[in-house]
């Protein structure tokens, strides 16, 4: 059994796991919260999480090895300069080098969705497939690309910025939603869990009549994509109109991604896509309607298999 070490570094936690590199199974894992996001503090937390996980797995912590890390941000090459990680508040942090020095092990770094797509390609929903797109619609929106059998990161580690394709022409619509990135009309501004919830709260505050309010017992902080999906199923007109709009944008954007990249498999992940079956089904209908027909030849669309483990598993076997 060849063991490998993977780390999933998000904005609030670092999770390290020892993974069986032949099967993708997690042998031991350790998760630790980030109280302070200063790079040296985060490195300390990651080092500690790696030590805990390796100890739990009975691995010699001094053994030669490689640690793979998936970071929620823009990573330049495998060596791990993090150019931009909004959730960590990092810009141009030589994270890979800092971690290497602290651990005394070789470190490979990549974007978290690239790493998750790689995990699914090695051991999950896209095993053995060369051209894979992981579409993630959760708190944020993004994608991870495996092209020609390898993770594709782009020239500056930004490939797969699916959440920031523009789906609303800036000029044509009366009201175009602003994205967290500062630009207008991004897919994420219309379809991420955070943005859907914010919009519903806004529109309820502005007087929209919807059963969503009853479903959350009048507590607007509980509004989520899942609740909108429940309202849709209950026949709520507001939820139906909203999901038609969001599903059309998601489905058409996915169709364009498929038309451009001609993958063999698309994997759907993230809490919004997997937790809102009605929305997913509308998106799928729009995808089928707008995708270039020849690109569907041999294409299969599957749900992610590895869930939240995809990050540590993919990171452990990063090449």
């Amino acid at each position: 059994m060849a063991l490998a070490i993977g780390v999933d570094l998000g904005g609030t936690n670092a999770r390290a796991a020892v993974v069986d590199a032949d099967t993708g199974e997690i042998v031991a894992a350790h998760k630790e919260p980030l109280h302070d996001r200063a790079p040296t503090r985060v490195v300390g937390v990651v080092v500690h999480a790696v030590r805990e996980a390796t100890q739990a797995a009975g691995l010699d912590p001094g053994a030669r090895g490689v640690v793979g890390v998936g970071v929620a941000g823009q990573c330049l090459g495998r060596s791990g300069v993090v150019l931009n990680a909004p959730n960590l508040g990092w810009r141009d942090v030589p994270f890979g080098e800092l971690l290497r020095a602290a651990l005394g092990l070789e470190v490979r770094v990549a974007n978290d969705l690239t790493v998750a797509a790689w995990g699914e390609k090695r051991f999950g929903a896209a095993k053995g497939i060369e051209d894979v797109v992981l579409v993630f619609v959760g708190t944020g929106v993004g994608s991870g690309l495996i092209l020609g059998g390898k993770p594709y990161d782009g020239a500056k580690g930004l490939a797969g910025e699916f959440g920031h394709v523009k789906v609303r022409p800036p000029r044509r619509e009366t009201k175009v939603r602003r994205c967290g990135c500062g630009q207008d009309g991004c897919l994420e501004a219309y379809t991420s869990g955070v943005n859907v919830a914010a919009r519903v709260r806004e529109e309820i505050a502005a007087g929209a009549a919807t059963g969503v309010l009853d479903l959350v017992d009048g507590d607007l902080t509980r509004v989520s994509a899942t609740v909108v999906d429940d309202a849709f199923r209950a026949g709520d007109a507001y939820a139906i109109a909203l999901w038609e709009e969001v599903g059309e944008l998601l489905g058409t954007a996915m169709a364009n991604l498929i038309t451009l990249l001609n993958p063999e498999r698309v994997i759907l992940g993230g809490g919004v896509l997997l937790g809102s079956p009605e929305l997913a089904s509308i998106a799928r209908r729009w995808l089928d309607r707008t995708v270039s027909r020849s690109a569907t030849n041999g294409l299969t669309i599957e749900h992610a298999w590895l869930g939240d483990d995809a990050g540590v598993i993919g990171a452990a076997v990063l090449e």
Copy 2:
């Protein structure tokens, strides 16, 4: 000097060239029209063009070697099954195998825009660059992708179908233009030379007031993107409105392509983009406005260098 043989196979001509594989220079070339598009007839024409070009270059036609071919169509793998080539009327033609048998040489086949992008990457506007997108807007609209230093063809040879991304939501607009592919709202339906000219003719026939008619001396068959560009420059209101619409669609679609793939260089090619400077400049303005800002870090946009030679040059050095 290492000589290599490349072929550019379009819908009306086959052009073969002997190329210096070290410099990309064309040593000798021969172009022949296709009178009959039956696969065995086309193979005969290609064989003849290759023989003429090699003879003119003083190459021993019996020498061991490889012939690369760019085909205007969907090519499955390098071995050269042409799944679909509308201009040739081909479906599932084992073109590579037929040509190999007829020539007695190894044959490598790829899509014409992929091959052109490869030519530009090896010897032209993207020399030495690993992540390159060639955007082509001419009679048709498409793109060629070089990702991680290699041509990227997709799972079924369809990657880069830029002309068939949907830029008009099927439901929201009162009138969505139909594309030659049979679907509605494709970028090509709005921006290709053929479709722009057809639309202008339609709208003039329906009574649109425009100076375009004077510029072609009332001869509607002479309407082209270049003429619309001239009318724009002369201040024609119809041309200005049309170019604003077409430029916005082109620029936003290019921005989305860049946001998704994070290339280091984008190459602009094709008669419409290169022959209509006013349109190109509007498209560029929309690109700048809608592209994900971080994706522009280190990005350069250049005109193609190799023009119509990119196909034979790229084919000759296809890997």
